[in-house]
């Protein structure tokens, strides 16, 4: 489901500050969206299987949340200057902005992927870049994922900084050989001689009836590969920030985007900023329970949070953002405060991010837990086409509310 979030003009909320605590009562939470309201949206599925969700014309004046990035050492310079009013932007445009800024900044940054050039990207993330930077810098590749990902790795070893786009994350299964064997490993097996500063990005996740093969969550498959970092963006702010940080990083980074989040709107700062690749984001501080989530499920959690608040609970919501490695500091501090953990993810149950996170928290913070960790993940089912079935494979806000109520008994 794509939601529209309008930034509120309050300037104070926008400047990320190191110890920012948000008074949740200050902001009016958007009314919950019922199933029928969601069905009212028009999804245009194109023959190339890209989905354009046309935005409802009745815009919502009240907003849900302004995510505040956890301030980092690198963010400090941006935070200290008074934030201008910023500009409103959709998530896919934020990704493009980040990419364009990095390409302007460093001529070694290039893009390769299917339909990234003349077509502008199947989700329009690279629209206009080929006209600006040329066909070699924004390279339209033939349909050969394994080979062009390998080509990106070879280019990275010899001095370029490629951004490889998988038209859909699922297609990167074809590139698994190169990602696992070369991307993650070559820095190590060459004894540190070659760096592979490649960014592999693309949309994944369960969309709107895209069918099983286009609705995959590859985080679980890639997480064990040593030598790579994985991040997942969820808002225009962190999408741009993570894109830029990933490009500047010397490590290979896989940036997971979500098909249904591309049309999110938010006001982001005009000035240059990046989001730290290894840090999690505090979305909503609370006292009763820690809810860890990432990507699209963040919005299901926030919707459930609204219901929970009305019922008298105070959930702390953290968008983990960094899927590998986990930010155990932010997560740990939260666990030490609330003593109860709920993980909400779209990944599969078996061997997913939630499974790893459960293990990591149990290992490190066992003494602080008052209850076993509850992990809500998607069913271990190939995503069905039928809309009703598809809805039941992913975690819905009602399930989150029930889980929190049970956890907090």
């Amino acid at each position: 489901m794509a939601a529209i979030f309008h930034g509120v003009g309050a300037a104070t909320a926008l400047s990320p500050s190191p110890s920012h605590s948000v008074d949740s009562k200050k902001f009016q939470l958007a009314p919950s969206r019922s199933l029928s309201a969601r069905k009212g949206r028009i999804a245009v599925v194109r023959s190339d299987s890209s989905v354009n969700l046309s935005l409802n014309s009745r815009g919502r004046k009240d907003h849900l949340w302004i995510p505040n990035a956890v301030a980092t050492k690198t963010d400090d310079s941006a935070a200290s200057t008074a934030s201008k009013s910023g500009h409103e932007i959709l998530l896919f445009e934020a990704l493009r902005e980040g990419l364009e800024e990095e390409m302007d900044r460093d001529p070694h940054v290039c893009v390769m992927g299917e339909d990234v050039g003349h077509y502008g990207g199947s989700y329009k993330v690279t629209k206009g870049l080929a006209e600006k930077f040329g066909d070699l810098r924004v390279l339209d590749t033939p349909i050969a994922e394994n080979s062009f990902t390998g080509m990106g790795i070879g280019a990275a070893m010899t001095g370029l900084r490629p951004v490889v786009e998988g038209m859909n994350m699922g297609f990167l299964l074809l590139a698994f050989n190169q990602i696992s064997n070369n991307c993650g490993m070559l820095h190590y097996t060459s004894g540190g001689q070659f760096t592979i500063p490649v960014v592999i990005r693309g949309p994944g996740g369960v969309g709107r009836q895209l069918g099983a093969e286009h609705s995959q969550r590859l985080e679980s498959y890639f997480q064990s590969i040593p030598g790579i970092q994985m991040v997942a963006c969820s808002t225009p702010y962190n999408a741009k920030g993570l894109m830029k940080a990933a490009i500047r990083s010397e490590n290979p980074v896989i940036l997971f985007e979500h098909v249904l989040l591309y049309n999110l709107k938010e006001r982001i700062p005009d000035e240059d900023y990046i989001c730290n690749l290894e840090e999690a984001e505090m979305v909503r501080p609370g006292e009763h329970v820690t809810i860890l989530t990432y990507s699209r499920m963040r919005y299901h959690v926030m919707q459930a949070a609204k219901t929970l608040v009305n019922k008298g609970y105070d959930p702390e919501v953290i968008d983990i953002r960094s899927l590998k490695p986990f930010d155990l500091y932010t997560i740990g501090n939260s666990v030490k405060k609330t003593h109860r953990v709920l993980i909400v993810e779209e990944c599969m149950r078996t061997g997913g991010i939630g499974a790893s996170l459960t293990a990591a928290i149990n290992e490190n913070f066992h003494d602080y837990l008052d209850a076993p960790i509850v992990c809500l993940s998607s069913q271990d089912v190939p995503t069905p086409y039928a809309g009703t079935l598809e809805e039941w494979t992913v975690v819905q806000p009602a399930q989150i509310v029930t889980a929190v109520e049970q956890l907090c008994q």
């Binding site: 070694h108 390998g150 080509m151 070879g154 010899t158 004894g191 070659f194 490695p325």
Partner: protein
């Protein structure tokens, strides 16, 4: 010598020897500049030596010592050298071809986007007959020809992929014919004759340097030993082996030199002796080199070690002293 050391327990795992195929490596790589790149397979010891990696570094790497070209972390199948632009050393077949295509892409990018007008670096990708049935081979032939990348695809057709005869695995065994199908010249050459290989290599490399695009060169060659030191090599016909042993490239070149009075027997004996000394020295150096210390375990996993993340105490894991000792659990 590698075989001797292997059987004496100095090195382990999979070691693939290049005996019999030397003409291909020498014929091609000796024409390259230092900035040109070479990508090979697991049968990469000689490619490394030809490209300029010292015998000491190669032998140490085989012994798994910290003075090896990859600090002992790569081993026989993963020889890398940034200084000499040797981009590996890949264990899975076909894996190196896209990497080579990427290196060639960088060369073109530097010339056309970064405007380094004199950048004419060429990349050579070496691989075998078995790889020519693999998807990555065909995908890269397509991309290289499409964008006219400065790369030469060198097929070391030694007729056998472990125990699989090329003729049993390939519908059309003439590999060089697959070049024109993708829009590049396909050349067949006697890979046991270093001078013939060199001639063909010259045209292919010059063509790539001029920016005219890739070439596919198929070298008929043979490995005198098994696929690896673990291969009993029972399937190959002794008559076939005898046929190719008679065409040993090193003996053939020696004969050519003597017949054409380019050097005397004594000169060549001196070369032989020198080689022996270099090899002995390499073994001695490798033997005396230290094993990698534990602290090396966690280095080089990430170029930026912040990639190990933030630990529960708020510090980056790489700042933990146990990390530099190699005892931290990541």
């Amino acid at each position: 010598m590698c075989a001797q050391m292997y059987y004496r327990g100095k090195m382990f795992g999979f070691v693939h020897l290049y005996n019999g195929q030397e003409a291909v490596s020498t014929g091609f790589i000796k024409l390259l500049k230092k900035e040109d790149s070479v990508v090979s397979t697991y049968r990469d010891h000689v490619h490394a030596l030809s490209k300029g990696v010292s015998a000491r570094a190669v032998m140490s790497e085989l012994f798994g010592k910290t003075t090896g070209c990859c600090r002992g972390q790569g081993g026989s199948m993963h020889m890398f050298s940034k200084e000499h632009n040797l981009l590996g050393g890949f264990a899975f077949i076909g894996e190196g071809i896209p990497v080579a295509t990427g290196a060639a892409f960088t060369s073109k990018y530097r010339r056309e986007v970064l405007k380094e007008a004199d950048c004419d670096h060429v990349t050579l990708a070496f691989f075998g007959d078995g790889t020519c049935n693999n998807g990555q081979f065909f995908e890269c032939l397509n991309m290289a020809a499409l964008w006219k990348l400065p790369i030469v695809f060198v097929v070391e057709n030694n007729l056998w992929a472990i125990g699989m005869s090329h003729l049993r695995a390939t519908s059309d065994p003439q590999i060089y014919k697959k070049g024109p199908a993708f829009g590049m010249p396909g050349i067949y050459v006697d890979g046991m004759d270093v001078l013939k290989v060199r001639e063909v290599a010259k045209t292919a490399i010059e063509r790539a340097r001029r920016g005219e695009g890739p070439t596919l060169v198929e070298c008929e060659t043979y490995r005198f030993r098994g696929h690896s030191l673990a291969d009993p090599d029972e399937l190959r016909d002794p008559a076939e082996k005898a046929h190719y042993t008679a065409r040993d490239p090193i003996t053939a070149l020696k004969k050519y030199i003597i017949e054409n009075k380019l050097a005397s027997e004594a000169d060549l004996k001196a070369v032989d002796k020198k080689i022996e000394e270099v090899v002995e020295d390499a073994v001695e150096f490798a033997d005396e080199s230290p094993h990698p210390p534990r602290s090396q375990l966690l280095e080089n996993v990430f170029a930026d070690p912040k990639g190990f993340g933030i630990g529960p105490d708020g510090r980056y894991r790489c700042e933990d002293p146990k990390f530099t000792e190699g005892t931290a659990q990541v």
